[in-house]
Amino acid sequence: MKAISQKRRHPLAAIALLLMGLLVTGGLYAVATTVNQAKADTTYSASDVAEGGKLFAANCATCHGVGASGSQSGPSLVGVGAAAVDFQVGTGRMPMQMNGPQAEKKPAQFNEAQTKQLAAYVASLAPGPAIPEASVIDGKGDAAKGGELFRTNCAMCHNAAAAGGALTRGKFAPALAGVSGQHIYEAMVTGPQNMPVFNDANISPEGKRDIITYLKQIESNGSPGGADLGALGPVSEGLFVWIAGLGVIIAFTIWLTSRTS
């Protein structure tokens, strides 16, 4: 103890202290972030990885490069994790049909087994977000809390009723009706397209479960007030009153003022 206090005025003491501080904060940060990211999935068998590698080479490597290291036409997939693959391939966004503002949803091109093999292959390259456990996507959380989280974090792009919305230059946030809990969860942790990543420090797995619960509940509730007109708010309501409402009334006025002659 005495030795340290004697050397505290040493010319290199400040530098040593700085180094120590950097190491501690950096180390802590690394530990904190890998809590979320580094979940090397061990549930995949070696044959899954091998089959996935073949599927990848045949269907994805043209753009994403050999070994998923990326090319001019597509980003590297090293470290995106199984969750990203399951979301992109499972919703049919990948393989992409054409270049455009963003990859659009379409019927899935691979079956479940193939999707799993692809995910196994990409997950084997480097640790990344894994496919969520069933307990966080069961839709049995707190819908009211989920609604508050949804309005604060998601509604500005996806609309308060989850009906979707426009982004810049042809990009858009899709409607969320009919999207599985697993895909919603994966989208939150991987941030596909223009979506930001909502990691576990941002919204806890419990919060994500609540959001999924909320979305599933408003979907199963349906529309208490009758046909929802796309849940698009006043624009579709205005269109409806002008075309259908006023249209029917004009038909009646014509009938009322027509003469029998």
Binding site: G225, P234, E237, G238, L246, I249, F252, T253
Partner: protein, 559 residues
Amino acid sequence: MSSSLTPDAPVFVAKTKGGRITDFVDQRVGGSGILREFGRKVFPDHWSFMFGEVALYSFVILLLSGTFLTFFFDPSMAETHYAGSYTPLKNVEMSVAYSSSLNISFDVRGGLFMRQVHHWAALLFVASVSVHMLRVFFTGAFRKPRELNWVVGSVLLILSMAAGFTGYSLPDDLLSGNGLRIIDGVIKSIPVIGTYISFFLFGGEFPGTMIISRLYMLHILLVPALILLMIVMHLFMVVVHKHTQYPGPGRNDGNVVGYPLGPVYAAKAGGFFFIVFGVVAIMAAFFTINPIWNYGPYDPSPVSAGTQPDWYIGFVDGALRLMPGTIGDWKVEQIWFGHMFTFNVLLPALVPAGILFTVMFTYPWIERWITKDNREHHVLDRPRNAPTRTAIGMAGFVWYCVMWAAAGSDLIATHFHVALNDVTYWLRALFFIGPVIAFIVTKRVALALQRKDREIALHGRETGRIVRLPHGEFIEVHAPLDEYKRYKLVGFESPSPLPAVPNEHGVVDRKERRRAKLSRWFFEDRVAPVTPVELEAAHGHHGSHEAVEAADAQKTLSH
């Protein structure tokens, strides 16, 4: 008892009990006199004359359904935790106003239906007022002696928008709160006094705890009272002026041709109320409007995608969306004398609406000054027969619609798969070019329709029957019009430009020269109505068209 009261004089005694009661009331109130007077009022029949009635009936529906809603609505902004039956909001912190709106929707019997009746009727009310005004404008019904009634109608339009907006904000949900936030932003963008007005209105910093109850008082007391007053004035003037009529045989500025109010027309109008009520009720029963439970309680931080106002405020929202933040390198938001001037909010929010309403209020006088037309008009113009006015109206209409469409720019982008940026750029261009194109196209179309009318009046209707004459020529048979239909085509005025006239000092002043220029612009492109002489010439030329059908080859050759 004096017998000088002539007890022998025949005194009317009704036969039935009901008749005796009616007679008793009538002798004291004089109802039959009123009925005799009003029952004889004549209303011309045309479907386009009924939008004012739709507006009136929507207003009655609004009063009825609104009264029901006041029984259950609490405009307090005090904080509470939702305890009603809609589970996705269970125990969420919200205002009492929002909570009571949710209770109306989910826990009051028939409450959701009444809320939807009220909201659909509100949208229909403003829509029918607007269509009614378009009809009045395009047929020239605002001309003398109805200029002041046009002004009353314009005030009614603004009041109906005010009623709608104050009501839209009451549930204190996220959507309407975002709308109030925009209004707050617009108020604060007014230089110097904006901040003070905002604090005055909201009782402190936005959103405060006062605004909902203040809007509620305006919505259920002041605005409806003013609307009612204006409706009374409006209808009183309709009775004084009598109704306008479309041109037709036997109709002129000195008469009204149509059905008397009683009994047929009154029955039709009374029945029409129930038709309007029925249409609104069907919409309310089967189609959701303003699902406030989707939006959640108001909180100044979240903003939902696809946030729009109800349709009648849409054009202001659209103008705000179209306004760029910078023009070239020039920032529209400026700091002068150490104060922020947010013109990028102030200009789009106030200028287009200001121009629209100023032109709307003053148009009868503008046209009267240009045309020097000081006569009374009770026969309407067919829109084509006033090409320049119709073109001005369409230019304004298109301008409004461009701003209106801009309010839905995000939905246009997502639903037609185009870029939001491109939608905005196109609408910005159309904001300036659209009205010009609309003016030119409308005027040409109106003139072309007039020429077609002239052609039909002179040569009859094309029947589509092709006849081959003995010498091989093919002709199309034209059927002559009957006199009544022809009257519609020829009975209109087409004034020619009015040159500048010297004033009493014998001088043509600058104002008069300007007026003459505008008069030329207004009337220079004109199609003169067919004169009796022309008609005679056209018909005398080849006799009746049936004669043509009789295949008199020689005669048609000379045609």
